[in-house]
Symmetry: C2
Subunit: 313 residues, 2 copies
């Protein structure tokens, strides 16, 4: 299902990375902010307009390099409804350029409520017979703490509309292990592994033509041993790998997440791409060029480890 | 900290319940929808306007009965930015009536990103020196799967701005036990208990004057044995109790979540209140009156178990 489209994008571009669109206002070049504040004032609307213009510039510069983008919902939500409008418009713009869009929302709730999140981010919202895509991503990150009830409504939408989910297994942050590494008494395995195993199970009815299902897992680059373990244990589960770059994961670390075809994972980078113009110290007008250079550098660094990418038969 | 204000509201009104504002469009009386569709068309904006009018009618009818309301973010998010605007306006309207507002978002992410969620829902968003409340709730539900990194940014905002959080411990849904009931090998206790224990720990710097901290826990009415266990084990942790009514929890079940003063918990009801006009079969124009009658019935049913509510010294 959904991961097929992501994998085809990855294969075509020979680039298993995703650009994280986590735009803090401080990452946006001053000339963009000034123009937006002139139109909307120093308001949430003004800030949201600046994020959208920044994102569009980045997407224009990255669309032929990266297969996917991953907007992080929190950085839009903090600007209120105006930020959420910028999120929806960013997603629509990225899709218009052929990019696969993963909304990083880590949503979770009980079944009836999860249907609403599934509709919001992957499905359609019905308004008494008229239907609308509220956010319209291709995939959504979700938190599996509530168990199968929470996942089932997503599976239904994924099957009907060729979408995907990524369930948090082993996250990239320093305290990830507090709960995720706890060994479960009855299963003789840690919690992250139990959730990973459920990803395999949940995905069985969503198997795509390349062997990977529509239920992926989030596994951090900062824990390469677990990445290797889960790659071996979960052959049908596609990985979204955060934690490369600023958080400390390197190319050799992320390589643990891939199969022998160079498939099975996509690696996220956010700050390094968004802030490349600041790090380079280039003309702020060239922010998108700097982002492209960093995206190419990252691609080359990871591809040097993988060799090449082919689609499994 | 924050739970003090909630507890004072509960004591004044002698009512430990919270009205869940989870407005499906099908819960909204036709005359409200028709008026909103006439103004905005059958669009996401039209639907969002109907939710807001419905909510305002409910709040006008409930503000002197219930101490708090709990809007469920998913039911707004599914209407896109227009829905999120209705969420912000619902929160502002509820606060203007003196209600304590718990946004049920179950947000979670790594530290740097969690700061953005904390700003969005409990704090302020800075736009280069101008500050705005994006959503401005009094408390937020969060998912603790990522560990302390995920919680720390919230604690900082709670301390600075007298806000609170409720961390998912034992949720009310049927599959809650798949992961939450797993016994942890090293701790000789189930996962939900380990997260509950961390709520005690996280809350130690946010203790309020009645002994409860700003870090609460979500514990479902559908699991009364665990509710009783956690009430005894977590004396500083205030509980948000979902699952009463439609999901199967009764008044005797929820009573397990309270201390000897009748304090320490607040019980949510959503559908029973929102759909009371449909269940009663009353004039749809009286939807808010029906909600009030159900809220009073629920209050009386639970208070009959508790006897009374006094603030611990």
């Amino acid at each position: 299902m959904s991961m097929d489209r992501l994998m085809e994008n990855i294969m075509k571009k020979q680039n298993p990375t995703v650009a994280g669109l986590d735009p803090k206002l401080s990452f946006v070049p001053p000339y963009i902010k000034e123009a937006c504040f002139a139109r909307h004032g120093k308001t949430l609307e003004g800030a949201a307009a600046a994020l959208l213009d920044f994102n569009k510039g980045l997407i224009d510069s990255l669309w032929d390099v990266v297969p996917a983008v991953k907007p992080q919902a929190a950085y839009y939500e903090m600007y209120g409804w105006a930020g959420m409008k910028a999120l929806a418009e960013t997603i629509a713009y990225a899709k218009s350029k052929g990019l696969f869009v993963i909304t990083d929302g880590k949503r979770n709730d009980i079944g009836a409520t999860m249907e609403a999140y599934a509709a919001a981010h992957l499905g359609e919202t019905d308004v008494e017979g008229e239907t609308f895509e509220a956010f319209g991503a291709d995939a959504l990150t979700v938190n599996g703490y509530l168990g199968s009830d929470c996942i089932d409504p997503l599976l239904a939408v994924c099957a009907a509309r060729d979408k995907g989910i990524f369930v948090l297994a082993k996250t990239s942050n320093p305290s990830a292990g507090e709960f995720q590494d706890q060994m479960l008494h009855a299963m003789y395995e840690p919690l992250y592994r139990a959730i990973g195993n459920m990803c395999q199970h949940w995905g069985q009815k969503l198997k795509g033509k390349y062997g990977y299902s529509g239920v992926g897992a989030v596994v951090g680059a900062t824990y390469p041993a677990q990445l290797k373990e889960l790659r071996k244990a979960l052959p049908d589960t596609f990985f979204l790998v955060p934690g490369y770059g600023a958080q400390g994961g390197g190319a050799k670390d992320v390589a643990q997440g891939f199969d022998k075809h160079g498939c099975g994972a996509v690696v996220n980078s956010s700050r390094a791409i968004l802030c490349a113009w600041q790090k380079e110290g280039c003309d702020p007008q060239d922010f998108a060029g700097a982002a492209r250079r960093e995206a190419l550098r990252m691609r080359d660094e990871i591809m040097a480890e993988l060799g090449g990418i082919s689609l499994p038969a």
